[in-house]
Amino acid sequence: MTVVTDVVCPLCGSVCDDIEVEVEENKITKVIKGACAVGKSKLQGHERIKSPMIRVNGVLKECSYDEAIKKAAELLAKARRPLLYGWSSTVCEADKVGIALAEEIGGVVDNTASVCHGPSVLAIQDVGIPCCTLGQIKNRADLVIYWGSNPANAHMNHMKRYSYISKGYFLPGGKKDKKLAVVDVRETSTSKMAELFAQIEPGKDFLLFSAVRAVLMGYEDIVPDEVGGIPKEKIVTLANMIKESRFFITFFGMGVTQSRCRQNNIVNAIQTTRAGHLHTKGAIMPMRGHYNVNGFNQVCTWETGYPFAVDFSRGFAWYNPGETASTDLLGRGECDVALIIASDPASHFPADAVKHLARIPVIIIDPYHNPTTEFADIVIPSAICGIEAEGSVYRMDNVPIRVRKVVNTDYMSDEEIVERILEEVRAIKEKEGE
């Protein structure tokens, strides 16, 4: 038995990097410390896809990696409107090759941001963002606001490592030196810990941001008695908490991005943060879901100029979410082949988008069986990044972290698989050109 320290968790955007595990016979047998329940569940493993498979007469039949990769390349090379979707539970190195593949075949490449923080990305492009690292928040933020986000369930170590519960250099007392405010439509485990909890009516976030912003800018008199179900008194209290803090941070989640007004909520949230700068220091940060959802956006931006939903069908990078995002493409029934990697759109897309996946050939690259494999015609199992393969990922605060290889595996990595598909596609195209 060996103890491995400083293991990096490949689950959520918090990317905890202080995990200790026990390894026995090339398997993680125990998580000693560091990981939350959700991370622990992933590190300890689930049932895997045993072999590459190709669907023959409606049934998935085992085959070799070579066969599956060749077949996948053939499908992609002849596709007229291929979609390459996922890329968030894998490393940047695989993402880079995936973008090259999309360019090669004139496809659309998109990651899971389009159904989580895509609106945040649009808002940041619109008005920029005052940001900082999680280290700065831990050491300096004496007011933590979670808005439409429930880290106690979704990012379970977030408060302990980086925000309200963590002990910082300038805030050695931990939560004794800090204040917590929560805005949510329902009472959550996070809201129960808060000094101020504003239980907002669904879809009223834009209005509440505007009200807080008005108070911060000195226009308290124009705020009505109640906004989105929150009494004016509480709105003024929240604004005063911001004014009186030495450094405030607003973390926002899908409660804001997936509700009415979508990206406009985030524009208003960012501008509310800026209004806070009239009084004190502060920043705002999206609570990114997958451990490398941010990484894909980084790689895609430096490779193509755009963060997600990039369409290469014109021969150059074209970006217009609403037209080129995966849900729109599938909802319109537009794509004719889908390559899905490191994600599960069958579970997380609206039903009508999922139904289109049933109509077209689907290639999936993933370590595990999931509902998308139910639709797949080619299944290519891969090594689990952060456990069986290494690479770079970006934490929610844009800090790159190297995830480690903890155990050996016979599974190919995502990077190798996509690289091999790209080589095959190039070979097919070269042959066609002859």
């Binding site: 689950l11 329940a37 959700v38 569940s41 992933k42 689930h46 049932e47 389009s114 159904v115 895509g118 609106p119 649009l122 429930n150 369930n153 979704a154 379970m156 439509v185 329902r186 009472e187 959550t188 239980q199 669904p202 879809g203 899908m254 409660g255 991005t257 997936q258 009415r260 979508r262 990206q263 879901g289 939903a309 979410p321 609403g322 080129t324 995002a325 849900t327 729109d328 599938l330 909802g331 599960d344 579970s347 997380h348 897309f349 609206p350 039903a351 009508d352 988008a353 999922v354 139904k355 289109h356 049933a358 109509r359 370590p367 595990y368 069986h369 999931n370 509902p371 139910e374 639709f375």
Partner: protein, 132 residues
């Protein structure tokens, strides 16, 4: 029986997260094919915990198990993110690329119909897809 009108939201839960990479399992089914409601709404519907309810929006309908939960105002229902919640969501993103997953108008009724297991739910999708 008359249904109740609710605003439907979805989101992550611990049990959903623990089975994120274990979706074909019974644990995931039990964690996600549910609808949380407050006590008053459960009484208005005439259902007790673990009885089945049908949730219907303009875009689809799905049967899930009712669960009593604290902390919800009356008229708000929660289904953890996953295939059952998404059966009720439109693929029209209104130009944003992002579907409206939260804040949907829905009607909930008590039902004797069974909750579809994950493979059955997707089999139904495949059949519907080819009909279209």
């Amino acid at each position: 029986m008359e249904g109740i009108k609710v605003i439907l939201i979805s989101g992550r839960t611990i049990a959903q997260g623990e089975n994120l990479e274990n979706k074909m399992s019974e644990e995931y089914f039990n964690a996600v094919a549910i609808c949380e409601l407050n006590e008053g709404d459960m009484a208005r519907l005439g259902v007790s915990a673990d009885e089945n309810v049908k949730v219907k929006t303009d875009y689809g309908e799905v049967v899930v198990k009712a669960k009593k939960a604290k902390g919800y105002p009356e008229g708000i229902a929660f289904i953890p993110m996953g295939p059952w919640a998404n059966a009720l969501v439109s693929a029209n993103t209104r130009g944003a690329g992002m579907p409206a997953y939260k804040g949907l108008d829905a009607v909930i009724t008590k039902t004797d119909e069974a909750v579809l297991y994950i493979t059955d739910l997707f089999r139904k999708y495949k059949e519907e897809a080819w009909k279209k």
